[in-house]
Amino acid sequence: MIAALALAIGVLLGVVFHPTVPVGLQPYLPIAVVAALDAVFGALRAMLDGIFDDKVFVVSFIANVLVAALIVFLGDQLGVGSQLSTGVVVVLGIRIFSNAAAIRRHLFRA
């Protein structure tokens, strides 16, 4: 409940203030979003599994976003930025999907 509220407040803050993303950070935004989505879905599933842990969530969220951005940065430096971004999106996308499926099983028992 509090988590959903915090998420909503964050969305509201983002919409109201729509902070401008520095040009240098713009390539990392989509990957950061996907990583954040993955962390949130993972946390939701862990919560439904009854094994949610505050510390793990905080650490995994920050680490995921940073690592995803780092991979893209590294890829950009090595000239394979778009390929690595695709890889990150595919891996995180699969994870989001299977977590969403697990959440669905929890909620609907189907």
Binding site: A8, G10, V11, G14, A32, D49, G50, D53, V56, V58
Partner: protein
């Protein structure tokens, strides 16, 4: 494959399970007040992180929409600028044509005063006609080139599309067949007219043209027959049948070709010929 299986079976962060195992191992121990405090602190941290995640999503969404809007706006602005500049260029072209006509009539008036001047006037008219800076009329042919009606098949799309080199080939073949003056979509060709491609547009004398391309050529009565017998003529006739390329050659009794812009010569100078060899006496 094992990587993909790993990915789906370990979708949830391993750390959650480890933390849960640790918790069950130490569940019999009553949590100390300090531990409880730190748990409350991490709960607040979860809220902060989730709020950050929400802000991240919202920022990304807003930025995406704003970028799309900006791209649309930029595009509109560019189209507007292109239209404005084209109108401006057309206006200047008209002004240039008027002024050129004025200069020509003033020159003719000055020259026709004397017999020597009239001779020069005739010569100027002839040279201008050949150079393409004089509007001309006469009988000839109109060659029409157009993209094939159906270029949806990407494999053959380029074969049914007219490029700059097609227009170049037709113009070359027309000149070779005896054409004396040629204009493409109303752009008169001179010795310095470039037919080239920029992006998807064909430029003749740096002015973009849109299909269909009408190539007007004034020449001998048998121009059409001669042109169709050239390699280019047979080739394009062939392509019309095979790829549906728009290609037609029509005889025209009366064609009027506009004059081209007067070429400005800034750097080239005439070769100095000894006075005895000069064909024209200086006045």
């Amino acid at each position: 494959m094992s990587l993909l299986i790993d990915l789906t079976t370990h979708a949830v962060d391993e750390a959650y399970q480890q933390a849960a195992r640790r918790k069950t191992a130490s569940s019999d121990v009553v949590p100390a007040p300090a531990a409880r405090r730190s748990r409350r602190a991490t709960a607040v941290l979860v809220g902060v992180v989730l709020a950050a995640a929400g802000a991240l999503f919202a920022t990304s969404a807003v930025a995406t929409h704003r970028n799309a809007d900006a791209a649309k706006r930029d595009r509109k602005e560019l189209v507007k600028q292109i239209n404005e500049q084209t109108a401006q260029s057309d206006r200047l072209q008209r002004q240039l044509d008027e002024l050129r006509a004025k200069v020509a009539s003033a020159r003719d008036a000055a020259l026709s005063a004397s017999g020597r001047g009239s001779a020069l006037q005739r010569e100027i008219a002839e040279l201008e006609m050949v150079a393409g800076t004089q509007a001309v009329e006469g009988s000839g042919v109109q060659v029409t080139l157009d993209n094939a009606k159906d270029i949806s098949n990407p494999d053959t799309a380029s074969l049914g599309t007219i490029y700059d080199r097609d227009i170049q080939a037709v113009v070359d073949a027309l000149f070779a067949s005896g054409a004396e003056a040629i204009a493409v979509n109303g752009e008169r060709l001179t010795a310095r007219t470039a037919i080239r491609e920029a992006g998807d547009a064909i430029l003749v004398d740096y002015r973009p043209l849109a299909p269909p391309y009408h190539i007007d050529a004034i020449g001998p009565p048998d121009l059409k027959a001669t042109f169709l017998k050239t390699q280019t003529g047979t080739l394009y006739e062939n392509w019309r049948q095979v790829y549906g390329l728009g290609f037609s050659v029509d005889t025209r009794q009366r064609l009027t070709l506009p004059s081209a812009a007067e070429p400005v010569v800034r750097y080239a100078e005439p070769v100095v010929v000894p006075p005895s060899a000069q064909p024209l006496e200086s006045p």
